[in-house]
């Protein structure tokens, strides 16, 4: 397992929608070692405040060594990152954690909600690279509204993948939840669902999959200080009792391993 602590150059910063930013970084070592579902810890400021790095799922990597992260501005750390400009150096740790397990099943369904869309692009493109049968994974993306969702769909469409959409306000795609769309796909126990997004969304997907006996992997998001199994701050309650750690045991888990109703 290769992990790196590196200062990397910010190549491009784009505001893809109001408050949603995508950074493209030149990080060849981390990009080459990364698998979908893994994350990087990014230092948002050179000083002592904000002190801790912030975790971000890897959104996309290129064979030229570029790595993208996608985030919503939610606090001081992401605010500072959103202000970074091309040419600046950022300190990255990664790739961290355990990614998605890409099964043999051609019948993969990827469900991303909100910023949980970020790792799904990397996962979709890796599926296409590994697919021998020519079957593309199905993708369902959800967001609050079309304004947030549409700009994020382009990269999926560029891969030649059909994207099903759901928005909370009905301004684009299905008016409602991603689970409504998921139900219409008639998935079976031969399928696998890969999901990342808000906890209620993943919980609903888990319950649906459990009922239909469909394997389901989820990528969880928690606060964390170190990202490498040292601080033990990123505890995730387990169904069997006790806790796992999002950074070192996850962030991807079999949905059935986790405790969903607290």
């Amino acid at each position: 397992m290769s992990q790196f602590q590196q200062n990397v150059e910010l190549i491009q910063s784009e505001v893809v929608a109001a408050g949603i930013v995508r950074l493209t970084l030149n990080a060849p070592d981390i990009a080459a070692a990364a698998v979908p579902g893994q994350f990087v810890m990014v230092q948002t400021a050179p000083g002592l405040d904000p002190l801790l790095r912030r975790p971000f799922s890897i959104h996309q990597v290129s064979s030229e060594g570029l790595l993208q992260i996608l985030f919503k501005v939610v606090g001081r750390g992401t605010e500072r990152l959103a202000q970074c400009r091309a040419g600046e150096q950022l300190s990255l740790l990664g790739p961290l954690g355990n990614g998605f397990v890409l099964g043999e099943s051609c019948n993969a369904c990827l469900v991303g909600g909100g910023m949980g869309i970020a790792p799904m692009l990397f996962l979709a493109s890796r599926f296409l690279q590994q697919s021998h049968s020519g079957v593309t994974p199905r993708v369902i993306l959800g967001a609050r509204n079309g304004e947030e969702l549409v700009p994020l769909m382009g990269d999926f469409l560029d891969l030649g993948i059909e994207v099903l959409a759901a928005t909370d306000d009905g301004s684009f795609g299905h008016h409602g939840l991603v689970t409504d769309v998921l139900k219409t796909l008639n998935l079976t126990s031969q399928s696998t669902v890969y999901s990342c997004g808000p906890k209620p969304m993943m919980g609903a997907i888990h319950h649906l999959c459990q009922k239909e006996n469909i394997p389901c992997q989820v990528s969880v998001e928690t606060v964390m200080a170190c990202g490498m199994g040292a601080c033990l701050g990123c505890a995730v309650p387990l169904k069997a009792g006790g806790y796992a750690h999002a950074c070192s045991d996850g962030p991807v888990f079999e949905a059935g391993e986790l405790l969903w109703s607290l």
């Binding site: 170190c226 040292a230 990123c234 070192s248």
Partner: protein, 313 residues
Amino acid sequence: MEPVNVKMNEVDLRVSIGSLELQNPVMTASGTFGYAREFESYVHLQRLGAVVVKGISLEPRAGNPPPRIFETACGMLNAIGLENVGVDRFISEKMPYLCALGVPVIVNILGDSVEEYRQLAERLAGAPGVAAIEVNISCPNVKKGGVAFGTDPQMAAAVTRAVKQGCQVPVIVKLSPNVTDVTLVARAVEEAGADAVSLINTLIGMAIDLKSRRPRLANIIGGLSGPAIKPVALRMVFQVAQAVSIPIIGIGGIATAEDAMEFMLAGACAVQVGTASFVNPKASEDVLDGIATYVREQKLESVRDLIGALRIG
């Protein structure tokens, strides 16, 4: 990982903590460095003065529910709840790797009762490769209504005596800063036979989310660490250095070599790098390189020249 590029053989960085000889004064702080293996991609572990591992209890502990951490100004609050694998799994699963590192391994221990500390010391005394024991006395004494051992000089002394009786290796008592006069506890553990003291543990703090009107930590209160606590730690090391004659290990917000050497001037023989390792995994090694560079540039005979060399008046 970059190759080592600082010339170490030109400078004398050796320090001793009682009978424990260290190649340099830089250790990792318990609870911030896992069981060392987590950092092998980032740190040349064999270069460290010593590795202090995550606190160990007699039985495994699951820890507290989340949220367990919250970032504060120049620091962080944590209420991990002393999650650890328990002493048996520690010895069978973690010690073999640690022993092979070739640096002293200091095992941090914690318990609910004096008897539990004694048993832990006995279990570890029989395990090969334990260079010293660091005793976390900031835990609640269940038999005394949950008052922390470290806040009462008599209880702190009782724990120290029990651990000393249980093992032959040097015993370092890690002092709590959540007391009115830290020197009272320091003197009590010195008299009880402690070979050294390390300080400070975290400062108890709290954070509240105005929007939800809820505490930020599930445990409500937690321990504050990071650069924010350095001035408090430095003051307490200085005070304890005036009060005891056993070696002192300085801890609290150390992120750079300058921070570390300030603790040595205040009276510390060695230091521990804690929360800084979360942000910069190789912080401990950076601190070591910075100290080596300073000692060489200042043409000091030894890093020991810094210990207690604070100029006053």
